[in-house]
Amino acid sequence: MIDLNEIGRSLKEKIAASPDRQAGRSTGRIVYSGDGIIKITGLSDVQYNELLDVRGGYRALALNLEHDSVGAVLFSGEESVRFGDYVYSTGKTLEMKVGEALLGRVVDPLGEPLDGLGEIDAEQSRPIEYPAPAIMDRGKVNKPLQTGILAIDSMIPIGRGQRELIIGDRQTGKTAIAVDTILNQKGENVVCIYVSIGQKASSLAKTVNTLRAGGAMEYTCVVCSTADDAVPLQYIAPYSGCALAEYFMYAGKDVLIVYDDLSKHAVAYRAMSLLLKRPAGREAYPGDVFYLHSRLLERAAKLSEEKGGGSITALPIVETLAGDISAYIPTNVISITDGQIYLESELFNSGVRPAVNVGLSVSRVGGSAQRKAIRKISGQLRINLAQYRELAIFMQFGSELDAATQKTLSRGAKLTDTLKQRQYLNYSVREMIVLLIVAQSETIDAIPAQKVTMFNEGFLDYMRMNKQDVLAEIDPDGEVGEALKGRILAAAEEYLNIAAGGGEEGENA
């Protein structure tokens, strides 16, 4: 049964929350409308970024305040707005609904539900534009955010409160890394927010389904604007997501926010700016396109203990064209963030997945947040890989090689293989330590080339089933002693023998 009283009550609440027309608001009239942009005369006391109420119940955002008119962008109702229609000021800026009620939901950038799961009962809202935490309110990034991806957690560690850019061409697995990271936060007490900006609705649906199937929606909110949404909605989406993230950060929680992706965001802002007739600069982006992203990413921070110790870790994604990281938007965002994970299509196509280019990827602050044991073990990893690559290039000339060089080469190839990892197959810190110890030991020489990835997956299964005690003994914050190392390597050899016995199956798998 539908409860009529309930309907009446909710209607009353909504009317009370809608702008009060008796309050004497300043008004103006539309003198131009086109491409979602309206120009309004009047509106004497309008503010920058103020929400406007257009006759017919449509909303617009005031962006250009000029001496004889106000330029604004419409969120909807482009076709219905007519010349001469009244526009009312509201005295408010845009706000996003915030609260625990948004977890598990898919919402638009204004906090309205899109998943058909009913109303969102959020008691609070926050302005979508909000100043970044002050210098004195910030703390040191000292806790790791585990992505569960070996190549990243060992060599490009990310700390809670860090901003790490994921950059690469299309189809190189950028979103996959972000999604894997969200999935890996299960049980880690991290709130995740996935902001989709101008994405295809089909890929977004796929992402949401993956998160749901992985049980990650419990602690995740998806803020989405798809490619067919009005440009202003795409423009505000990351700020809305950030407002939600800030709610949790100021409540003392750790938050992970993914902006997928900022190149589309810049394109949306460029479209808006050009239509508003703002001067165009490099690549036709407006002059404030750097500020567009810097003010967004500065809001990601680690708060000091006095301020509750919450954090926002931001993983912005930027898509490059033909690997060109020196284009305008990529260089901007690289300089704003604390490091980047650079993905290459060449690596991706040759089967190195995740296709992380270790040479060009860095993390400027995550190192101090890395777990001690992992830091110790992976210290040499980057150098070893660099040496291997240098030799590998040299080897292409076909000169004869001595035994030592051949060994370095085969070790390097196996190390590279160790860093390959299937999607959705996240490793725990202890498992990473085990893999890194084996990969940097003599034991790895016994594993046939091309079989390393298979060995790793099988070996970890074997450890989980038969060597729980060894895994449990590893202290991620301490040091891995020689005795423990010996036991890990002994287990690896044990498994090698078993695998060699049933080798036929292994080869066909």
Binding site: L11, K14, I15, S18, R21, Q22, A23, G24, R25, S26, T27, G28, G42, L43, S44, G57, Y86, Y88
Partner: protein, 72 residues
């Protein structure tokens, strides 16, 4: 009152009585305005709309119904 003081435009649905005239005069005086031009427009269905410069005080029944319609 300043020479160029604004005149208020008042829209009502039917001919106003003396009480309303007095209340409107007091209301607009508070906002620096001493003249009122009345228009009768049955379309607003009831209530009153007062316009001073670009400020609008919209207490019409029509505007309230519009608000309700938006949520139905």
């Amino acid at each position: 009152m300043a020479k160029n003081s604004l005149s208020a435009r008042v829209i009502v649905s039917e001919k106003p009585d003396d009480d309303i005239l007095r209340m409107v005069a007091a209301f607009i005086k508070e906002r620096g305005c001493d003249r009122a031009e009345y228009t009768i427009d049955p379309d607003i269905l009831g209530g009153i709309i007062i316009r001073i410069g670009d400020k609008v005080y919209d207490g019409s029944v029509r505007s309230r119904l519009e608000t309700v319609r938006r949520f139905l």
